[in-house]
Amino acid sequence: MLTVPNSWLARRDATAKLLAAALLTAAVLTSIDPLTSGLVAGVLVLVLPLTGVPLKVLLQRGWPILASAGGIFVFTVLLGAREGPVLAHVAGLDVRENAVGYALRLVAIGLPGFVVFATIDPTDLADSLIAHLRVPPRFAIGALAALRLVPLLIDEYRLLRLARRARGIAAGWNPLPLFFSTLFGLLVGAIRRGIRLATAMEARGFDREVLRTTARETHFGWSDASVVVAGLLLAAAVILVKFAHP
């Protein structure tokens, strides 16, 4: 599980952050030129101190995004369409605008979601969704409780694999039968756990018709609104740049 930093952005309302990230991602999706994508990626790196996510953590956890972006860059240089302005010559190859554009675009699409989820505590998200978006508590709290069981499932899968080895069962030339038998065991265990958790929640009155109160306050103030406004402004800037540089 990710640990949530105690930063300015981490203290802002979860719904506001989701909304800002969604606006920004939608705007980046409409454009492919390197300038707008670079703008978004650059601004996000500049505001990184506000998010409290250390650059090291960003690189450690966000490496799949960077690796994919690198892959896209290399393959577009090698195999991409030979059109558009050439930005540089490297080792006898033309690096064109499209290669830089695709790579930066992936980073610009991935980064807002990554930063937002790294600064959202799941409990705060559920509270905020219930308070501001009127998501039914049965769904939000239920999903939250189920999320807590995910690490247990990972552990369980490992134990099931070891238990099969102890029984003398190895994958052999075809790993699929072993995989499905392990998956079946995992499913049986997951259903049992799910039922036990549901019973425990029912026993504490989660199924009641009584109007549920919330113990934690969810406050949506000016600073939370400013996150949405910042997302909106950056998204607008992306679209403006796109039309200014067709």
């Binding site: 939250l144 807590r148 069981l149 919330t214």
Partner: protein, 408 residues
């Protein structure tokens, strides 16, 4: 009140009925609380289950205690004082923001009790609340129960297998069902089966073996015809050690060395590198949860998987009293039957070394006695046994050597 009974006598079902959690179809007759059906009185009852991991709902301790209060519509201003009072009542040692996943089993169970007593139930139901815990954690939970019962004016029904520790908490004991031979009673006469002959050759050695998360290095030898008991608190690395000795995981430091007596020519390689089929013929591992090891759809097929002849399998079935269940699905067996089957599956490949993780966990007195006799017979046949266990009575009955892992 302490509620006792054999495995399958219906103790947990009765508690669920009292808590109003049973479906109409599963119930005959009526359960009345203060003259009204239990289902309508759910706001007056609170229940704590055996498994701490599946009854904590929220990721912060305070939020978890508040969960039930939120569901009952308690105003926010009233919630937090009641949360703090409940946490104090069970002696919870951390603040509200403590991550529930970082708690030990005993702490999680105390938190679960706090979540229930915050609701101020008139009837408190506890379904083996200490079964999953080490002796120290179990003692803390019992202290928490005693303390909480002083503070609240409530009736308590407690289900426990082991009576000795539970008796000080109750005024009255009720035994469910006729099968009283299977019920643990205070000072029950237990078999004692120490090894009668000296142990034989070395089968397996741990050589400066490192356990995850602990600085300690383990040096131990497992001998033929000897039962080695591995004890220690939760989190000390007992199960990790069982997996390492069983050749199931690769050591992060130190070595596991099999002797030629155990492994023949394979002794040159560490057990974790043996092919699975050869491993199973030499070292049998029995996991804490029997269901982890079931891979087929009938009891008989489970044993045939070991590669032995049908005659040997039938012999094994009758020896472990599973012959009548030969065609049953392993997942449908009772806890005691599943445990016997998981020992049988390990025996089916005829290994000379058996490693068992909590073999007597949650068993009634009859199954416990059977397991002790079975394990002692296996040991006396010349097999090596490693018993990872919290069960002091099991160690007293058949443990020949003890390895105690310290708290890390």
């Amino acid at each position: 009140m302490l509620l006792l009974g054999a495995s399958g006598a219906g103790k947990s079902t009765l508690l669920a009925a009292l808590a109003g959690l049973l479906d109409e179809g599963d119930q005959e007759g009526r359960v009345l609380i203060d003259g009204r059906p239990a289902r309508e009185m759910r706001a007056e009852t609170g229940i704590v289950f055996q498994d701490p991991q599946t009854q904590l709902i929220m990721s912060r301790a305070g939020d978890d205690v508040a969960f039930g209060l939120e569901n009952r519509g308690v105003p926010r201003a009233e919630i937090w004082p009641r949360v703090d009072a409940a946490l104090a009542a069970v002696g919870f040692p951390y603040g509200r923001a403590r991550d529930t996943a970082a708690l030990s089993g005993g702490e999680q169970q105390r938190l679960a009790i706090a979540g229930v007593i915050a609701l101020r139930p008139g009837l408190l139901l506890l379904d083996e609340p200490t079964a999953n815990l080490d002796p120290e954690g179990a003692q803390l939970v019992r202290t928490a129960i005693a303390k909480a019962m002083q503070d609240v004016d409530a009736t308590m029904v407690l289900v426990e297998h082991r009576v000795d520790e539970a008796l000080p908490l109750v005024d009255r004991t009720v035994v469910l069902g006729e099968d009283t031979d299977a019920v643990w009673t205070a000072g029950a006469l237990l078999p004692s089966r120490r090894a009668r002959s000296a142990p034989g050759e070395v089968l397996l050695t741990a050589d400066a073996l490192a356990l995850r998360h602990t600085p300690q290095k383990i040096d131990v030898a497992v001998l033929q015809g000897q039962a080695l008991a591995v004890q220690g608190p939760n989190g000390a690395g007992k199960s990790t050690l069982a997996l390492l000795l069983g050749g199931l995981t690769r050591p992060t430091g130190g070595r596991v060395v099999a002797s030629p007596a155990l492994a023949g020519p394979d002794a040159r390689r560490p057990p974790h590198r043996w092919p699975a089929a050869r491993l199973a013929r030499r070292i049998g591992s029995v996991f804490q949860n029997p269901e982890h090891q079931f891979v087929t759809s009938t009891v008989r097929e489970e044993l045939l998987l070991g590669g032995r002849s049908p005659a040997v399998v039938d012999d094994l079935l009758s020896r472990l009293r599973l012959d009548k269940l030969a065609l049953a699905n392993p997942y449908t067996l009772s806890g005691g039957e599943q445990r016997r089957l998981s020992v049988a599956t390990a025996l089916a490949a005829a290994p000379r070394l058996l490693i068992l993780d909590e073999p007597t966990f949650g068993q009634d007195l009859r199954t416990w006695r059977e397991l002790v006799e079975l394990l002692a017979d296996l040991r006396d046949e010349g097999r090596g046994l490693v018993l990872v266990t919290h069960d002091a009575q099991l160690v007293a009955a058949i443990g020949d050597e003890r390895l105690v892992l310290p708290r890390c």
